[in-house]
């Protein structure tokens, strides 16, 4: 099974990255960073978005070639020209985005990942070998199922199994639990931890969840803006100390206190039903009421119909049945209705769902009001000056980092795209706010700002429906929590009384 010329070191081995510097043009992504992963340890790599974590591991895996610095594998210096070299040395990576092919079965995915796929695959023989391999593994997966039909948790297990099937001894995991329920995350990480303890594996895990670092990692390395900011044995650190090292001296927006009581029902859903792109029912007769001055959080693992529900509310998808009322009036996601009821939307993937990438920041900020005074005269003659003045004001107020208001919005970073959408959606009066994963992939400063804005909107009397895959975010912000599973609402509780283990169980469908 050994591929390439350099055999992998036998047993577990460590990886050291010494004095790594990586330049992309003028931008210094890594500045003299040092990482030491001891053999047979569970090492966490912490840092904010853009801190250089991915760049560092991509240098180790051979996707990038570091401008300066060396990689030692098992104490020996190795030149890793491409991912194939890294694989041959026994290094494997589990990516944040799945690399399994959804339309193929798990067995096909596993066999295909091998370097020595036979020209004609003898399926009966391969299946027997795969079953024998699975019997030795801590997780079980249905080999003949299509990847598109299994849950996100099972997919993540398959990604890890694939690396073990390929006999990789050093695993790099890139935010492996971002799509899992807390219970699933604990199960997967616990099993990996056991393999590390048994001396079968070494793990380097990129994460931003302190809970997982504290529970599973032996050591941690913390990066900040491309520099080594700190690290050490996890047993000697606290989450607060790690957070301070990660963020540095940056000022975070202070979230206003929760104030005021919930008022009248503002957004009412009655037996709303919607299909997904494949034509199967994704949203199954959902009934839900959100009152003024209340944040209702919808928890759930991604792919349980949340996206389709938000698309119906946003007007991107037609409902198959049911009724939606806003402030008592029937609602069909028309522009006029949204304007009348002062509805705001923060959809997930804002660049795709809420912006036109090629248009300027100023134009994108003006979308809601572009054809009314003062932006337009008579409903058709656009006043470019008003666009620019309004955008300039909002860019300052919402701290959007853009070169000019005329810069295409696709040139902005994720956090700044979301800030621009925030400026458009929340600058005026808001009576109903629908937000879906508003902080996905953003750094602390942006997250704090968005959370503060959502809470402020609630305190001003807006009815907020917050759909999120991040339970911590929901527990922090929402007044009421519901869990969505297979398109149905399966659990509801006041957030102050919600039990995390019960919520997690419902997210997993038990």
């Amino acid at each position: 099974m050994i591929i390439g010329e350099t055999p992998p070191p036998s047993g577990v081995f460590g990886v050291d990255a010494i004095a790594m510097t990586m330049r992309f043009g003028d931008f210094l992504a890594l500045d003299n960073v040092e990482l030491k992963v001891r053999p047979g340890s569970f090492h966490a790599l912490l840092g904010e978005n853009g801190a250089g974590k991915s760049t560092l591991v991509k240098c180790i895996m051979g996707y990038y070639h570091a401008t300066e610095g060396n990689i030692l594998i098992g104490g020996r210096e190795q030149a890793i020209a491409n991912p194939k070299d890294a694989h041959a040395l026994g290094l494997g990576m589990v990516y944040q985005h799945f690399t399994l092919v959804p339309a193929m079965t798990i067995a096909e995915n596993l066999v295909l990942a091998r370097d020595d796929v036979p020209a004609v695959v003898n399926w009966p023989k391969e299946m027997k070998q795969l079953e024998a391999f699975l019997a030795r593994m801590p997780f079980k997966v249905p080999l003949s199922a299509k990847v598109s039909d299994i849950s996100a948790g099972e997919r993540q297990k398959c990604e890890i199994l694939k690396q073990l099937y390929l006999k990789r001894r050093f695993l790099i995991l890139d935010e492996p639990t971002s799509v899992l329920t807390p219970a699933e995350a604990d199960e997967v990480l616990g099993m990996l931890r056991d393999m590390v303890v048994r001396g079968e594996l070494t793990i380097l895990m990129i994460t931003h969840k302190f809970r997982e670092v504290m529970a599973f990692a032996d050591e941690v390395t913390i990066l900040r803006r491309g520099k080594l900011a700190g690290g050490g044995k996890v047993a000697e650190l606290t989450p607060d100390a790690m957070a301070r090292t990660m963020i540095g001296a940056e000022e975070l927006t202070v979230q206003p206190l929760r104030s005021g009581e919930a008022g009248q029902a503002r957004l009412e859903l009655a037996k709303v039903r919607a299909l997904d792109d494949a034509g199967t029912v994704a949203v199954h007769d959902i009934s839900l009421t959100v009152r003024a001055g209340e944040i209702v959080g919808i928890a759930g693992v991604s792919g349980n119909g949340q996206r389709q529900l938000v698309e119906v509310l946003a007007g991107q998808r037609e409902a198959e049945g049911g009724e939606i009322r806003v402030a008592g009036d029937p609602y069909h996601a028309r522009r006029e209705e949204m304007r009348r009821h002062k509805m705001s939307l923060l959809p997930e993937e804002p660049l795709k769902n809420a912006c036109v990438g090629g248009m300027s920041v100023a134009d994108n900020i003006a979308f809601r009001e572009f054809d009314r005074a003062p932006f337009a005269s008579g409903g058709w003659w656009l006043n470019r000056g008003a666009f620019r003045d309004d955008a300039t004001k909002k860019i300052r107020q919402y701290r959007i980092k853009t070169r000019t208001p005329e810069t295409p919005i696709s040139a902005l970073s994720g956090g700044n795209v979301q800030r621009a959408v925030l400026a458009r959606e929340l600058a005026g009066d808001v009576e109903v706010l629908i937000a879906a994963n508003p902080c996905f992939g953003l750094d602390f400063a942006a997250v704090a700002q968005i959370h503060a804005e959502i809470m402020a909107a609630r305190n001003r009397g807006a009815a907020v429906l917050l759909v999120s895959e991040d339970l911590d975010e929901l527990l922090e912000l929402s007044d009421r929590l519901v869990v969505m599973f297979h398109g149905e609402l399966v659990y509801e509780a006041r957030t102050s009384e919600a039990d995390l283990t019960v919520v997690g169980r419902h997210m997993a469908g038990h």
Partner: protein, 308 residues
């Protein structure tokens, strides 16, 4: 029933014969396109490839006297046109649909230009196997005169179906069509896989063209293909990218195309041109029945530019 007259039975017989005869180019082009599209690329240029294949097959057969060398020449011409399509599409920010349309016009134009001297001469034609020897009825014999290329195409469909599941190449083509990220993560070159898949697709489409000029209708002229190439591309979509369904769909289209002439032969002359439009009406009908604005097509390769 005397003197070989079989009355209205002529119609289903002619449709059956037509299904076999007319379907062959549909079959080859759709199987070729099936391979190309499963790799994540759409090649609309196959209409041009078909006509170029017909011209080069006719020319080669005329010059060498061997129709089989003509078939080979058509395949090679098709593979080269496929390589041209894949090569242009490998460049950054190139749209495969636009390139396909350009190559469709290029292929037909080039074939007409190079094929001018071939309109007059007669080339050696492909042989047929007589499966109707047991019958005295001329219509039955005519319907069952089956070309070898048709049989090859019929065999190819299950072979492709099997190959997509059980061979390394089949699995790699599907992976490239479903997720280019996954393909790259495995260390394979997506562009190389698509280049090869497009070349094989072009090869088969070229052979489909050779059938037109060397068997049915069996001569070279500029009106040889009436959009079979482009219809076959659409056919892959109805067939849900499944080679076996491509076979049935090709037969259905062949049968529909034979409806007009068959009805004319029994004296139904009113609406002749309307019946000739049957394949196109069938195209529209299937489109309307199977497509929905609310749904994506099941089975569509995820990397295809029309479904992404």
């Amino acid at each position: 029933m005397a003197d070989g007259s079989i009355g209205l039975w002529t119609v289903p017989l002619a449709v059956l014969g037509g299904a076999i005869r007319v379907s062959t180019p549909f079959l080859f082009v759709s199987l070729g396109e099936c391979i190309t599209e499963r790799s994540g690329r759409i090649n609309l240029g196959l209409e041009g490839t078909l006509v170029m294949g017909a011209m080069s097959a006719y020319g080669s057969s005329y010059l060498t006297g061997s129709p089989w060398l003509g078939v080979l020449a058509a395949g090679i011409t098709g593979a080269l046109l496929g390589a041209l399509h894949a090569g242009i599409c490998s460049l950054p920010r190139v749209n495969d649909v636009a390139v396909g349309i350009a190559l469709m016009l290029f292929g037909t134009g080039l074939a007409f230009y190079l094929g001018k001297p071939l309109i007059e001469p007669t080339a050696a034609r492909l042989p047929a196997i007589d499966f109707g020897w047991w019958s005295d009825i001329p219509q039955v014999r005519a319907a069952l005169r089956v070309n070898v290329l048709f049989l090859i195409g019929v065999a190819l469909a299950p072979i492709l179906y099997w190959a997509f599941r059980t061979t390394r190449w089949g699995l790699l083509i599907r992976t490239a069509g479903e997720s280019s990220d996954a393909t790259r993560a495995m260390g394979h070159s997506v562009l190389l896989i698509r280049l090869r898949a497009t070349m094989v697709g072009g090869f088969l489409a070229g052979i489909g063209g050779s059938f037109l000029s060397l068997f049915y209708p069996g001569s070279w002229n500029e009106g040889l293909s009436s959009g079979q190439g482009i219809t076959a591309v659409a056919l892959v979509i109805f067939a849900r990218w499944d080679p076996l369904l491509c076979l049935w769909a090709s037969l259905a289209f062949g049968g529909a195309a034979a409806l007009g002439p068959a009805l004319q032969s029994v004296g139904v002359t009113s609406g002749y041109h309307l019946f000739n439009a049957a394949p196109y009406i069938l195209t529209l009908a299937i489109m309307i029945m199977t497509c929905s604005p609310k749904r994506t097509l099941t089975g569509a390769p995820a990397e295809l530019s029309i479904t992404r």
